[in-house]
């Protein structure tokens, strides 16, 4: 991919292109504004089982089952969802399941809702305590490279990798109603 194309890509498209490159076949998600474009791309892809979850912790089981069955899975969630997953993450560590989690941050830059702050402020630390390799993204131009590297560490290395998409990258939540 040349530089002009890379910067022209909207960052969710860059993530999706990496999903295609490494052959992600299952994507578990809870509906989320920050991930909405990526979710749309995955839902439209006939090679991807899009699995809408009632709570993020279901996605941990999904990823484990997919790996058992020989498929690669990615999980999309908001920072609050990380808190919902903590006990379930033990499944990944106990069995060495590869896992790629993409997390849209809330509770940091330009957050209007203080209720997002308690979990948002401990999201990265929680992931690290749970054994995840954690990479934070601030710049759209870094998304392709960092997500690509994370995919390789997860699926070639059999590791648990979290990519944290900062609230500044995602943009301010529109609060108009």
């Amino acid at each position: 991919m040349d530089d002009i194309t890379k910067t022209a890509l909207h960052w969710p498209d860059a993530i999706y292109a990496q999903f295609r490159r490494v052959g992600i076949r299952q994507v578990g998600y809870v509906p989320d504004a920050g991930h909405s474009r990526l979710i749309e791309l995955c839902v439209k892809d006939p090679n991807i089982h899009d699995v809408v979850l009632t709570t993020e912790e279901e996605g941990v089981g999904l990823a484990a089952g997919a790996a058992l069955g020989g498929q690669r899975a990615a999980l999309l969630m908001q920072s609050s969802g990380v808190g919902n997953c903590i006990n379930m993450f033990s499944l990944l560590r106990n069995c060495g399941f590869p896992c790629l989690v993409l997390i849209t941050m809330r509770g940091e830059f330009a957050e209007f809702n203080p209720w997002q702050v308690p979990m948002g402020s401990i999201t990265e630390a929680s992931l690290k305590l749970c054994g995840f390799l954690t990479y934070r993204l601030e710049e759209p131009d870094d998304v392709d490279d960092v997500v690509g590297g994370g995919c390789d560490m997860a699926f070639a290395g059999g590791l648990q990798v979290a990519i944290v998409l900062s609230q500044r990258l995602i943009g301010r939540k529109e609060w108009t109603r």
Binding site: G23, R25, Q26, H49, V51, V52, L53, T54, T55, E57, E58, G59, V60, G61, L62, A63, A64, G65, A66, A67, L68, G69, G70, Q71, R72, A73, N87, M88, S90, L91, N94, C95, G96, F97, F155
Partner: protein
């Protein structure tokens, strides 16, 4: 009421290529007692995840039958996952809940099913193709038939007696169980492990 060991043994008889995920606690011991097998994935934790592991596996292996054997407490903790399964409608997934109406692992405290919370009704509301109660051993062959041939997703709530069975403990090494499972799957389906 069913004897849990006898019922599980009958379900797993002549299992062919059946993949089994067992929920933590007694269902894991029941599946181990029914005969250790490379296509058993035993859970010792991750309470509430059994049906979702079954879903991920069923989606990845659509030509293979997948059985989730779990307890009422484990199923209750993952109640939302029944809705998620209902959305995806995996035709090859069957969930059997061994319901003794109690939390056996923690001292036999009553579970929600003891108060009449009906997992079959929940499964039906979650668009499971079939959901049924069984409580007599004569139903085991019918349930086994559903496990192998029924159009899923199917949930069976099997009322077992709450007598404790002797513990039969499979390995707690999750890496070993996973690798053995994946190797057996790739051998029997001719697919490589990715």
């Amino acid at each position: 009421m069913l004897d849990r060991r006898e019922f599980v043994r009958k379900l797993l008889a002549d299992r062919k290529g059946l993949a089994v995920v067992s929920g933590l606690g007694s269902p894991t011991y029941d599946v181990a007692a029914g005969g250790d097998h490379p296509l058993n994935f035993y859970l010792w934790g991750a309470m509430g995840a059994a049906a979702m592991i079954g879903l991920g596996l069923a989606l990845a292996q659509p030509a293979r039958r997948v059985l989730v054997l779990t307890g009422d407490g484990e199923a209750l903790m993952g109640l939302g996952s029944l809705a998620t399964v209902g959305v995806k409608q995996p035709g090859n997934l069957v969930v059997v809940v061994l319901d003794n109406q109690h939390y056996g692992e923690t001292g036999m405290q009553p579970s929600h099913t003891r108060s009449g919370i009906d997992l079959v009704a929940v499964a039906k509301a979650c668009k499971f193709v079939d959901a049924l109660h069984v409580s007599e051993i004569g139903a085991a062959s019918r349930v086994r038939d559903l496990v192998h041939h029924g159009n899923g997703p199917i949930l069976v709530q099997a009322r077992i007696s709450n007598e404790a069975a002797p513990r039969v403990l499979p390995t707690r090494d999750g890496h070993a169980v996973k690798l053995r499972f994946m190797e057996a799957l790739s051998k029997s389906s001719g697919q490589s492990i990715s």
